[in-house]
Amino acid sequence: MSGSRQPLADWTSGAEAIVYQSCSACGAIQYFRRGFCARCGALDPAEKLASGTGTVYATSLVCRAATPETRAHIPYNIVLVDTDEGFRMMAHGDDDLCIGEKVMARFVLFAGRLVPHFTRTRS
């Protein structure tokens, strides 16, 4: 996977992809996009496409939503996943996911937007 300094489209802009940034100066990686490295301050970290695989860190099954759009989906499982690339991200997941399970992302529509949804991988 080659690095790019152009912003890559990802799920936050409607594309079926998870993107992270990697600092060429200090090697730190970060998930929330910025024009600089939050560890060392170097400008223009490289944008990289994540594999979409990882491990479940935490889960919370939402049964009480706050808007009509999200209420249509309850219950839905909010998960934190530690990706194989080493950054943590929030996403949706199958309702029965357990902490420590290996997962892979696909993309689903939620409240009118594309969001990452993790499913258990068979290994």
Partner: protein, 378 residues
């Protein structure tokens, strides 16, 4: 030096027809009278925010409404940690002669001033606007994530967490101002409606109307002084996605700094006032602060350790979970109750000895922390 010289607290629950300014004014008036001061004595104002009536200059809006012209005034925003952050700032302001008597005040008609959906939706915005909020999380879900991981790492069960809700309710039964005053059991908590599992309805604090205030002064205004012995903060992240590993959260950092600033050890503490937005919040903070060993807080609840007559009475007014949560004023109620306990005015809730108290507040998703030690002087 600085002293908490007066406190004011309204009942929490429904206050139909009262605005945020009305609730702030009631609490502020009570605190000034409690300190034995007049409005004209107040030369500093710190206030929290209102999600119902947001304003870019709430402190001066309040000062004009209340009828005082302070030499120093502004609002402070650190989520649930705001009340103690204001107490810390007021402490430094009076200690450095910027002001003589600072009124710290907050109040919000969060229950009757907006729909519950609007309240939940407004609070969920502490999440990241691009990487979290589009996923539809709620504040209980952010804490539900923390709870699931904490349970996984430390062998804590849902029944363990339920104990904290039962404890706070038991304390609230003795306070006429508490929003919830029906006894509950662990079974009731377990059977309550799922909100963001593993958190259920009774694991979550309610939305309330209410107001709270206190005065911080350079000198005591009555015989029994309640002195700010030392305080500190820590801020490790904003969003739960960017939170550190469990065990490295800000509470452990801020308490270490506060112990150093105050020259106090946890073994000196006689009363605890700890933020309890959810049962997991209280369980985790007690263990991060060193008021219980890791994974042991629930067993200490079961053994009566945190009861009114226990070794470490905790949130004897019922906390956010049962006294209620009106926003910034919610955690300020913990300080008001601590003051009543330290000055021997807690009536049927009075504990034996509240000579040194530890207060701790958290804002965001365990993002911002303030720890403070108060000491009774004569």
């Amino acid at each position: 030096m600085s002293f908490i010289t007066g406190v004011g607290l309204t009942a929490f629950g429904r206050h139909e027809g009262l605005s945020s300014l009305d609730l702030m004014s009631r609490a502020g008036g009570l605190a000034i009278a409690d300190a034995g001061l007049k409005r004209a004595d107040i030369d500093g104002i710190l206030c929290g925010y209102s999600t119902v009536a947001p304003h870019i200059m709430l402190a001066t809006v309040f000062a004009e409404h209340f009828g005082i012209r302070p030499a120093y005034a502004h609002a402070v925003q650190v989520g649930g940690a705001t009340g103690l952050a204001m107490a810390m700032l007021a402490h430094h302001l009076v200690a450095s002669d910027v002001a003589r008597h600072v009124l710290v005040v907050a109040g919000e008609n969060r229950l009757t001033g907006q729909s519950r959906d609007a309240s939940i939706q407004a609070l969920a915005q502490v999440g990241h606007p691009q990487y979290e909020v589009p996923l539809g999380p709620t504040i209980p879900a952010y804490y539900g994530l923390i709870a699931s991981r904490y349970m996984h790492e430390y062998g804590v069960s849902e029944e363990d967490l339920a104990e904290f809700a039962v404890l706070m309710r038991r304390h609230a039964l003795l306070h006429p101002g508490a929003q919830f005053r029906d006894a509950i059991t662990v079974a009731d908590v377990m059977a309550s409606k799922p909100v963001a599992l593993p958190l259920k309805l009774l694991d979550c604090c309610p939305v309330s109307d209410g107001g709270a205030a206190f005065v911080v002064s350079r000198e005591p205004t009555s015989e029994i002084g309640v002195r700010v012995r030392g305080c500190a903060q820590a801020h490790t992240h904003q969003h739960v996605t960017a939170a550190p590993a469990l065990g490295e959260f800000g509470a452990g950092i801020s308490i270490a700094r506060a112990k150093h600033a105050a020259g106090v050890a946890i073994s000196d503490v006689r009363y605890g006032a700890v933020y309890d937005s959810f049962t997991i919040t209280l369980a985790m903070l007690l263990e991060d602060l060193g008021l219980a060993g890791r994974g042991e807080a629930a067993s200490r609840v079961r053994s009566g350790h945190f009861d009114q007559n226990g070794a470490m009475p905790l949130n004897t007014h019922g906390g956010l979970l049962s006294y209620g949560h009106c926003g910034v004023g919610g955690a300020m109620a913990h300080l008001v109750e601590t003051h009543l306990q330290m000055t021997g005015r807690a009536g049927n809730r009075q504990v034996r000895d509240a000579s040194i108290a530890l207060l701790h507040g958290d804002g965001g998703v365990l993002s911002s922390h303030v720890s403070m030690f108060l000491e009774r002087t004569r």
